[in-house]
């Protein structure tokens, strides 16, 4: 969507620093609200706010007759249930999510993917009076990468000559599309210059990061709005946990029972298949207090990823994320180590249809040894995420040097100790024999633990790098390249 300066007529963009619309030509600033949506989109009549769902800031209480259950499934027992006829899906059997199910005021949702008339849909989503006049769809100029197939919407910026996902210079205009308007948005707070400084500071600290990456081209930095869903999901679980505790010198296996619930009223899941859930989770948390009603003016000057995840899928992702967070908290309350959940009975309920939003992120895409890598910066908090390549030769060289130096220092110390303690001709009492023996055992155990700790640490770091690396982000890329 293109907006023009009221003073000089040049194109204007949203400025994250001032939170206003800014004209680079004449230096004018305008409030976002000064640029209204075109009249042609106005609805004819006001739409009443929904009684059932309310707005995001005041979610309705759970339970009771009017509450619409979005789902209510028990995993594991494969029973489908729910207080309303929505969902009833059984995991593993891949049933259609809510075919011919109804919710709300009898609007059909599910296989036909209709939300009733536009006016009724807007009312049920709890739009404010102002939003009730807003269109449900918006026009986007979609650009497509010829290499990886990624599609992105460009808003009042120069079309990029390279793809923000795979870095290939093969981006062409595809079409003008109507996409569903998000309900909320977190505008950019971190400017382009700040994002560059944050990334430079982060890569500068990486000892094993290749110099070519430390000197990245800043023009490869792009601001993108990523589509997200915010789901209000109630989760509860009852479980039996097995753990091992130390009782003096012995260890004992104990069994613990825990039951509890959690209402995740702002569970976020990304709505783009190009960005893996693991990567989008790393970008979080976002400060939800800064959520604003969606206004297309916030998009000007930035790219926007096209949403290709439907709400049903978002609910499933939200369930798994809720379950993981819940289990993590429960296990913290159980004493001991080597904790394992032996049995559990998870249940969940989704209160309302997931709310579509857009969250800001800066993307820096570059290629190293013919592989694409992406560093992301949270456009609100400035958190830097992403796995970047590391110099393996440098790592091995440094490791060998440190290992040799440490060994050269430790061996004479140990030899001196052994000569003192166990040298020939020396008489010992039985008590000093015991303490020397114990110390020797500790040294042996210490050597074993040092190796174990070093290997464990390295494994964990390598796994983290692998998960954050662009192999997962670009799995979509290589699949498309191979025709998958």
């Amino acid at each position: 969507m293109i907006q023009f300066c009221k003073n000089c007529g040049a194109k204007i963009v949203f400025d994250p620093k001032t939170n206003c619309m800014y004209c680079d030509n004449c230096g004018s600033f305008f409030d976002v609200s000064e640029y209204q949506i075109e009249e042609g989109y106005q609805e004819d009549a006001p739409v009443p706010q929904s009684q059932l769902y309310g707005d995001y800031a005041n979610p309705p209480a759970y339970g009771g007759g009017q509450q619409q259950a979005y789902g209510g499934q028990q995993y594991g027992q494969q029973q489908a249930y729910g207080s309303q006829q929505y969902g009833g899906q059984q995991y593993g059997q891949q049933q259609a999510y809510g075919s011919q199910q109804t919710y709300g005021n009898g609007q059909q949702y599910g296989s036909q993917q209709t939300y009733g008339t536009q006016q009724e849909y807007a009312g049920q989503q709890g739009y404010t009076d102002q939003q009730a006049y807003a269109p449900l769809d918006m026009e986007c100029y979609i650009y497509r990468c010829g290499s990886c197939g990624a599609e992105i919407s460009i808003n009042n910026v120069e079309a990029s000559t390279f793809c923000v996902y795979c870095g290939n210079p093969n981006v062409v205009f595809s079409r003008v599309a109507k996409v569903k308007r998000p309900q909320k948005i977190i505008p950019f707070s971190v400017t382009w210059q700040q994002a560059e400084m944050l990334i430079r500071a982060k890569v500068r600290d990486g000892f094993f990061i290749p110099n070519e990456i430390k000197n990245f081209r800043v023009e490869m930095l792009r601001g993108i709005y990523i589509p997200y869903y915010i789901t209000c999901i109630g989760y509860r679980d009852a479980m039996e946990v097995k753990s091992t505790v130390k009782r003096g010198k012995d260890s004992e296996t104990i069994y613990s029972l825990r039951s509890g619930y959690c209402v995740f009223d702002r569970m976020t899941t990304d709505a783009s298949r190009r960005l893996t859930d693991a990567t989008s989770e790393k970008l979080e948390p976002f400060n939800m207090q800064e959520l604003k009603d969606f206004n297309e003016n916030y998009l000007t000057g930035f790219y926007a990823d096209v949403s290709d995840v439907d709400p049903q899928e978002a609910c499933v992702t939200a369930y798994w994320r809720a379950r993981g967070l819940f289990e993590e908290e429960i296990l913290k309350s159980v004493e001991g180590s080597s904790k394992k959940i032996l049995q559990q009975y998870p249940e969940y309920i989704v209160q309302t249809e997931p709310m579509k939003t857009m969250f800001p992120a800066w993307f820096l895409t570059f290629r190293y040894k013919d592989r694409p890598y992406t560093i992301l910066v949270n456009g609100q908090t400035g958190k830097v995420v992403g796995g970047i390549p590391w110099n393996k030769t440098k790592f091995i060289t440094l490791f060998v040097i440190i290992a040799v130096l440490l060994s050269i220092i430790i061996i004479p110390i140990l030899k001196g100790y052994f000569i003192l303690e166990f040298g020939s001709g020396r008489r010992y009492s039985s008590s000093s024999n015991d303490s020397s023996g114990k110390l020797l055992v500790y040294i042996v155990i210490g050597a074993g633990l040092a190796i174990s700790a070093g290997v464990t640490k390295l494994k964990r770091v390598l796994k983290s790098i692998r998960l954050a690396s662009e192999s997962s982000l670009t799995s979509f890329v290589s699949k498309r390249q191979k025709g998958g």
């Binding site: 027992q77 249930y81 039996e240 967070l325 309920i349 490791f399 290992a403 074993g448 390295l458 954050a468």
Partner: protein, 79 residues
């Protein structure tokens, strides 16, 4: 003999510590993990309604959730 013993213990110690140090330095290459908690995505966080330690194996699990603000299926038949 003592020298051999020193070498046998010294090398694993040196290698292990070197691995750990290099692992810490490499960790700077991996950037970012979800730094939130259950209260980041939830107003009140996880509420534990029942807690019991050192029970027998396969003890019957408590399925009641007093204070839980949502119901799912009251007639659900549990094992």
């Amino acid at each position: 003999m003592l020298l051999i013993f020193s070498i046998i213990l010294g090398i694993p110690l040196g290698v292990g510590v070197a691995l750990y140090i290099c692992g810490i330095m490499l960790e700077n290459t991996s950037m970012g993990n979800f730094s939130g908690t259950d209260t980041t995505l939830s107003s009140k966080g996880v509420v534990i309604t029942y807690s019991e330690d050192s029970v027998g194996k396969n003890t019957t699990i408590n399925y009641t959730y007093p204070g839980c603000p949502f119901n799912i299926n009251k007639e659900r038949n549990r094992k």
